[in-house]
């Protein structure tokens, strides 16, 4: 069963990693913990259900499954990116010069607003999605792996590689790195700070949307409260890997997924403490390496 738990853990970790990237990118640039990020993921899940529902009604999945998923992802990413950028404009930009605590409170407020907005607009009930991709998986070294899991793993690895290339190679990526190092200096060097921050929120939210769609494809349900738990786990993953570090978020996400699965799978007594394992490892890591696994050592400027 080792292989099975490994696959379970990697698929779950991929979702955590995608959400964690949004936390870590925003933190890297603004030193802000965007608590509304989990809600963007939740919006992505709802949009996934709505778009897939509409496309299924139109009969597209029987025509082309790949096209259906691409359209769903595109619409969900577009909407969530718009939400992310708008959240930054409304809730964080006016407070950029304020004390560090103010945008944090604003983020918590944004999270509550989005949660209740979805509750009122979509209802308190669980939204469900009938299975779109067939369950019939195949055997892989004694473990059963489903097409959804392959899709989650493959696409998340691809996205992470693309993101890494974007940050390290492109002009905008360079501007992002410059902004995260020193915002004032970057702006003096001609970097459009507002644009860079907007792009950061746009990318982070689009990644959360992908995670949301993947989760609905895999688990088939969405709930207005789902962003809270997932956001907390992804934030843990970001801290575990070292907040502010992009490879750290990826590593942290996969690690968290694996720890949870192997931890809960040890015995039946352990199953009740699934969440405890993740936080135990976090505490130990933070005691030994306060800046996380791949985090930069912060040097206090004197």
């Amino acid at each position: 069963m080792f292989t099975q738990q490994l696959i379970n853990g990697l698929a779950l970790g991929a979702v955590y990693a995608l959400i964690a990237l949004g936390y870590t990118m925003v933190y890297g640039i603004l030193q802000l913990i965007n608590f509304a990020h989990g809600e963007v993921y939740m919006l992505g899940a709802y949009l996934g259900i709505i778009v897939l529902g509409v496309l299924t009604a139109l009969g597209l999945p029987s025509f082309s499954l790949v096209l259906t998923i691409i359209i769903t992802l595109a619409v969900s990413m577009l909407f969530c990116a718009a939400y992310g950028v708008t959240i930054e404009r409304l809730a964080y930009r006016p407070l950029r010069k304020a004390d560090r605590l103010s945008p944090l409170i604003s983020a918590v407020g944004m999270s509550i607003i989005l949660q209740n907005f979805i509750m009122l607009a979509q209802g308190k009930e669980y939204k469900y999605l009938p299975p779109v991709i067939s369950f019939e998986g195949f055997m892989f070294f004694g473990a059963k792996i489903s097409p959804v899991e392959i899709f989650i793993l493959a696409s998340s690895v691809l996205i992470m590689v693309l993101l890494q290339l974007f940050i390290s190679r492109s002009r905008l990526g360079k501007a992002m790195r410059a902004t995260s190092q020193d915002m004032t200096m970057a702006s003096l060097a001609g970097v459009n700070i507002n644009q860079v921050i907007s792009v950061t929120f746009l990318i982070g939210s689009a990644l959360a949307a992908i995670a949301g769609v993947m989760v609905t494809l895999s688990y088939g349900v969405a709930h207005f409260f789902m962003g809270y738990t997932a956001g907390l786990k992804a934030f843990t993953a970001a801290v575990l890997g070292g907040i502010g570090s992009i490879p750290g978020a990826m590593l942290g996400g996969f690690m968290l997924g694996l720890i949870e699965n192997f931890g809960a799978g040890i015995s039946d007594v352990a199953s009740e403490y699934k969440d405890a394992f993740a936080f135990l490892v976090l505490i130990i890591t933070l005691i030994l390496r306060p800046s996380g696994l791949l985090g930069r050592k912060t040097i206090d400027k004197v």
Partner: protein, 382 residues
């Protein structure tokens, strides 16, 4: 919305209070019907009130009980234990003869003590927590089943089938879910082997770790104590990791949403729930009458209807009309103790079949049967 609700609640309270006062003088019999009538569980309370209203209406048409008309006093406990106690006190002040309610276990249990002190009979149509009737109160009855009975029925089914020897048990760590799982485990005894007993986190989305561990134990059935959203995800993910054994679960999963979430993977799932009322002519008659006035009956409406009928029946049999020798005025005297004794010793012909009670006030007949999901719908197995 909150404000509008509270204004409505105040108006309703004034209105009901007034009717209560107005009827102090007349000779009508007052029956309380209480449950959550506002908030997210409001449908449950309204189903209860409608069914009780239907029963009262039928008695009134026949001329009432012992020549007296019956008035139904609705109460809204908002599924809140504090509110439930205050409604209980209000009912007692209004001198109700008996109460149909409450809905939630958390409301029925604290309220029952006040009814007991005031000697008022209460019959709950929906509270399944076994503790309610274990308090030793003479006045408390329930017409639905209990979670321990449910666990027993499920265990008996598994033992009788002979097909399932290795059982895994999981629960959602709530009072209902874990309680049900524990009663089930207890009832299984030693004839089959419990190979796994663990908990999952409610609202978590991924249960594959636990399911993989169950797969490793080579169990041939898993029991789940919990509610339909988790159950739907469990059976779906079980199929994904290739765990092809059936799930068995309780009344909390008896909801079409379960099948909607799980799709084809719900097929074969066993659920314990009440008998199919459609098979009984009396139940069919009730459902037709209910539909005519209120629309589709809720899952527990028929229980509330039977509870109201039992109460009115008991009043008719035990009520005494006393005549004042001086004024010649006749008053109806209703004694809660005599009513309770009568109810506990009698078999009633309810819309949902014969009802009799054991010494605790629980129904004696096996109230649960095993259902199974077949072709996308719940079907009764036996």
């Amino acid at each position: 919305m909150f404000r509008r609700n509270s204004i409505a609640a105040v108006l309703a309270a004034i209105l009901f209070g007034m009717t209560g006062c107005a009827q102090q003088d007349d000779q009508s019999i007052r029956i309380g019907a209480v449950g959550p009538m506002t908030g997210d569980q409001s449908k449950m309370g309204v189903d209860l009130r409608n069914a009780a209203e239907l029963a009262v209406g039928e008695w009134n048409e026949k001329g009432g009980v012992l020549g007296r008309k019956i008035t139904l006093l609705p109460g809204d406990d908002q599924a809140d234990p504090k509110q439930a106690v205050s409604i209980a006190n209000k009912f007692i002040n209004q001198k109700v003869a008996a109460v149909v309610g409450h809905w939630n276990s958390s409301c029925s249990i604290p309220a029952s003590k006040y009814y007991q002190d005031a000697n008022v009979v209460m019959i709950t149509p929906a509270t399944t927590n076994p503790k309610l009737t274990q308090q030793g109160f003479h006045n408390v009855f329930r017409v639905c089943g209990t979670d321990d009975q449910q666990g027993r029925i499920a265990a008996a089914f598994i033992l009788a089938s002979g097909r399932y020897k290795r059982i895994a048990i999981i629960h959602d760590k709530t009072a209902y879910g874990q309680g049900l799982a524990d009663y089930f485990k207890q009832a299984l005894g030693t004839r089959v082997q419990v190979v796994y007993y663990g908990g999952i986190v409610q609202r978590d989305s991924d249960y594959k770790a636990v399911l993989t561990a169950i797969k490793e134990t080579k169990a041939d059935l898993y029991y789940f104590g919990g509610i339909y959203p988790e159950a739907g995800r469990l059976v779906r993910q079980a199929r994904e990791i290739g765990l092809n054994i059936p799930m068995m679960t309780g009344d909390g999963v008896y909801d079409p949403t379960f099948i909607n979430i799980a799709g084809k993977s719900a097929e074969g799932t066993y659920v314990t729930f009440g008998k199919d009322p459609a098979g009984l002519t009396t139940a069919k008659l009730f459902m037709e009458k209910y539909r005519k006035s209120y629309g589709e009956p809720g899952p527990y409406s028929i229980y509330a209807y039977d509870a109201a009928n039992i109460i009115l029946n008991a009043i008719e049999r035990t009520g005494i009309i006393e005549k004042d020798p001086k004024t010649g005025k006749e008053t109806l005297v209703i004694d809660g103790r005599k009513m309770a004794v009568y109810i506990s010793r009698t078999t009633f012909q309810g819309a949902f079949g014969d009802i009799s009670f054991d010494k605790n006030g629980d129904v004696t007949r096996a109230p649960y049967v095993v259902w199974q999901v077949k072709d996308g719908v719940f079907k009764q197995v036996q």
